[in-house]
Structures are given as structure tokens and as C-alpha cells.
């Protein structure tokens, strides 16, 4: 083989390898990222209340493209110690709640239209925790909890409250802050 054809072969191999490196990098980024929303909110794992990420009209948030009319609050969760009970009270303002797996993907989203008597209550659990809950349940008194299976052990609960008028910004922030995420120990 001449030097030139060896060089060509090496270049072709390099391109094929580059494709593999590219795909592996893209798949690895969510696991290695240090500036993703979950990593930034890791400090809220131990608190029971949600934390405001972007208040309406807030210029100082790290969140890219924040809606200036929305109060966004989140709780980070891990399911290692048990299922997480999320409860929010809805008011006059538009409110939505979504569950995000740590390495990406919104696996559940709901708006205040689904609230029952002004309350949105969910229990986030792993498949295994759901099986345990079902096994230990009294068949005559089934639980009324809305149970959501999380595809990952770590994730975020995100609440958005819309202030359609600037005068509602304070109210929206208070409503977003009032969401609780507690570990359900039974």
C-alpha cells in the first residue's frame, strides 16, 4: 500500500470514529453537565418548599428565555428515600405543573384545569415504589393519590404561574413559592 492510500484510509477511519465520538458526546452531555437546571437546583433537594427560579420581570435569572410574565419555581427531587408528594394550591391565575427527568424529557404536565377543589396533588414514584404501594394497599380502600411513575430517580418539579397583568406579579410569585415537595414516608 502506498503512503497516499494509507493516508486516505486513515482519514476515512477518522471520520467514522468522529461520528461515534460525536454521538457518544451528545448522549453523555446530560449526565456530565454541571450547568443544567437540576445541578443548579441541587441545593433545594433538602428543602420542602419550591424555590423561585425566575420571578416575573426578573432580569437576573440564569434561566434562558424566561417568560417575563411567568413566575417559575422548582423543587429538585430524588426518589432514593421514598416517593415525593407534590402539592400546589391553585388560585385565580393560570398555573401549570410539569415533571422533568434529570437527563431530559418532560414526563408529565398538567394545568390548573385539572385541579380538584383548588388543589393539585401528585405522588411521584419509581416503578418499584408503585409496585410496593399497590401490594400494601387495602383493596377495600384504594388510595386516592394521583401516582406518577418517574423514568429517572432524579428530576425536577416545575411550577409556572402566569401573571397576565403586571399588577399580578407579586401574587404569581407567592403562588409559585407555595408549592411543597415532601418525601412521603409511610
Amino acid at each position: 500500500m502506498t503512503l497516499r492510500s494509507q493516508f486516505l484510509l486513515a482519514t476515512i477511519c477518522a471520520f467514522v470514529l468522529a461520528g461515534i465520538v460525536h454521538l457518544a458526546t451528545v448522549l453523555a452531555i446530560p449526565h456530565l453537565a454541571e450547568k443544567d437546571a437540576f445541578s443548579r437546583l441541587r441545593a433545594t433537594l433538602s428543602t420542602d418548599r419550591s424555590e423561585i427560579v425566575a420571578a416575573p420581570g426578573d432580569q437576573g435569572t440564569w434561566l434562558p428565555y424566561p417568560d417575563p410574565g411567568v413566575a417559575l419555581s422548582t423543587c429538585a427531587y430524588t426518589l432514593d428515600e421514598g416517593p415525593v408528594r407534590v402539592s400546589a394550591r391553585t388560585g385565580a391565575l393560570f398555573q401549570s405543573l410539569s415533571l422533568h427527568a434529570r437527563t431530559g424529557g418532560v414526563f408529565f404536565a398538567i394545568t390548573d384545569r385539572a385541579a380538584i377543589r383548588g388543589a393539585l396533588d401528585l405522588v411521584v414514584m419509581t416503578r418499584r415504589q408503585l409496585d410496593e404501594a399497590l401490594a400494601s394497599e387495602d383493596p377495600d380502600e384504594p388510595s386516592r393519590d394521583v401516582r406518577i411513575v418517574s423514568p429517572a430517580r432524579e428530576g425536577l418539579v416545575v411550577v409556572r404561574v402566569l401573571a397576565i397583568f403586571p399588577s399580578q406579579r407579586g401574587e404569581a410569585t407567592e403562588a409559585a413559592k407555595a408549592v411543597s415537595c415532601t418525601i412521603d414516608r409511610e
Binding site: T2, Q6, F7, A10, T11, C13, A14, F15, V16, L17, A18, G19, I20, V21, H22, A24, T25, V26, L27, I29, P30, A33, K35, D36, A37, V53, G57, Q59, W62, L63, P64, Y65, P66, D67, P68, G69, V70, L72, F94, S96, S98, H100, T103, G104, G105, V106, F107, F108, A109, I110, T111, R113, P151, L156, V158, R160, L162, I164, F165, P166
Partner: protein
């Protein structure tokens, strides 16, 4: 003749041949790492590279807020810290150019209108290139569906410009590229961008530019 002499040369000097192979292997590995890493880095730094649906001046990433978001979307969110709007919450539309395809510029005046897709509420916000809401002396970077003034038919016109305008007016920053984001909260369109009719989206028309 030449080929024969080269073969003879390589037979005679196996050490040189091995060295050339080693150099080529190192070259291939470095090239692979460089190309692979840099392309992955570039594709995950800005917009979601795949899954965009264009409708007039607006772009939607309908799967970005779903469970089956593609790996690039997840990587972009991981790097920027973005928290996508879930499919059940609403839909995000972005425009970085006007109807004619010219990039939105803060020194120009634009007229938006006159309809918006069906939604319980919508907001229309103006951002700079880096994704921050624009900072103007007026302190307003967005309009909501409830705030906007409409005519008797329910249609609206919003003007984006540096100078004050009558009616619905959003003040432009001093200079630079801007982009618009429209969010439809609790919209039937969020279940599939197919339900989004291009005619229901507000048009973006450039009126004039100051130099």
C-alpha cells in the same frame, strides 16, 4: 518501474514503514476526537438542531417538551440550563426573522398582527440574542393576551420600535439582533404542531429601519 522500486525500498526499511503507520494512527485518532467533540459542542450550544417545524416566520419544536425529546434537545437543555414547557402546558413559538426572512433588528420598526392561535392565554416576549428579555427604559419586554388592546373584530396590532407609538407598543432596545417568543398556554395546538394553522399566527412585517 517506480512502484517496484518503492516496494523494494519499503522492504528494505521496515522501521520507516512502522513509524509512518504510527503517525497515521495518531493523526486519525486526533482528527476523530477533534471533529467529533467540536461538532457535538457546536450542535448543542444554541437552538435545538432537530425537530423544528416552521410556519411563516415562526419556528416550533413540538417534541421538545415531551418524553421523547431527542438526545440533542436534551443535551442543549443540559448545557444551557433550559427548562422546556411541557406538551400539556403549552407551546413555544420563536421568530428570529420577519415574514420576508430578514433577521429581526432592534433598529427597525415591525408590525405584528393580527391574529393569534387559540389558547387560554398567550404571551409575546422580546429577547436579545443571548436569551435575556430586552432591557429598555420602559421596563416592559412582553405583552399578554389579556393586556393587548383589540379592535371590534378581536384582532390586534402590536408595533415593535424604538420610538413611542400609539396603541400596543413594545419598545426595542438600542441596537442588536432580537428575537420574539410567543407562548400559548393551555392551547389545543400543543398536542401537535399539525393543529397549528399558519394563518392563525401573527405576521411580522418590517416597516422601516433607521441606520
Amino acid at each position: 518501474m517506480r512502484r517496484a522500486s518503492r516496494e523494494r525500498l519499503s522492504e528494505r526499511r521496515p522501521a520507516a514503514r512502522a513509524a509512518a503507520s504510527a503517525v497515521l494512527v495518531v493523526y486519525a485518532l486526533l482528527l476523530a476526537a477533534g471533529l467529533g467533540l467540536s461538532s457535538a459542542y457546536r450542535m448543542t450550544g444554541g437552538d435545538y438542531p432537530f425537530g423544528a417545524v416552521r410556519s411563516g416566520a415562526w419556528t416550533v419544536w413540538p417534541r421538545a417538551g415531551s418524553r421523547d425529546a431527542d438526545p440533542y434537545t436534551r443535551a442543549v437543555n443540559a448545557r444551557t440550563g433550559g427548562i422546556p414547557l411541557g406538551v400539556g402546558e403549552g407551546l413555544v413559538l420563536r421568530a428570529a426573522a420577519d415574514d420576508a426572512g430578514r433577521a429581526l433588528d432592534a433598529r427597525c420598526t415591525y408590525r405584528l398582527g393580527t391574529t393569534a392561535p387559540q389558547a387560554r392565554y398567550w404571551t409575546l416576549a422580546l429577547y436579545d440574542e443571548t436569551g435575556r428579555p430586552v432591557e429598555t427604559p420602559l421596563g416592559r419586554a412582553s405583552f399578554s393576551s389579556a393586556e393587548i388592546l383589540r379592535d371590534a373584530n378581536g384582532s390586534f396590532t402590536l408595533v415593535l420600535s424604538r420610538e413611542a407609538q400609539s396603541g400596543n407598543w413594545l419598545m426595542m432596545p438600542e441596537a442588536g439582533a432580537v428575537n420574539l417568543v410567543m407562548r400559548l398556554y393551555d392551547s389545543p395546538a400543543s398536542s401537535g404542531a399539525a393543529a397549528l394553522d399558519a394563518r392563525s399566527l401573527p405576521s411580522i412585517v418590517r416597516l422601516e429601519c433607521s441606520s
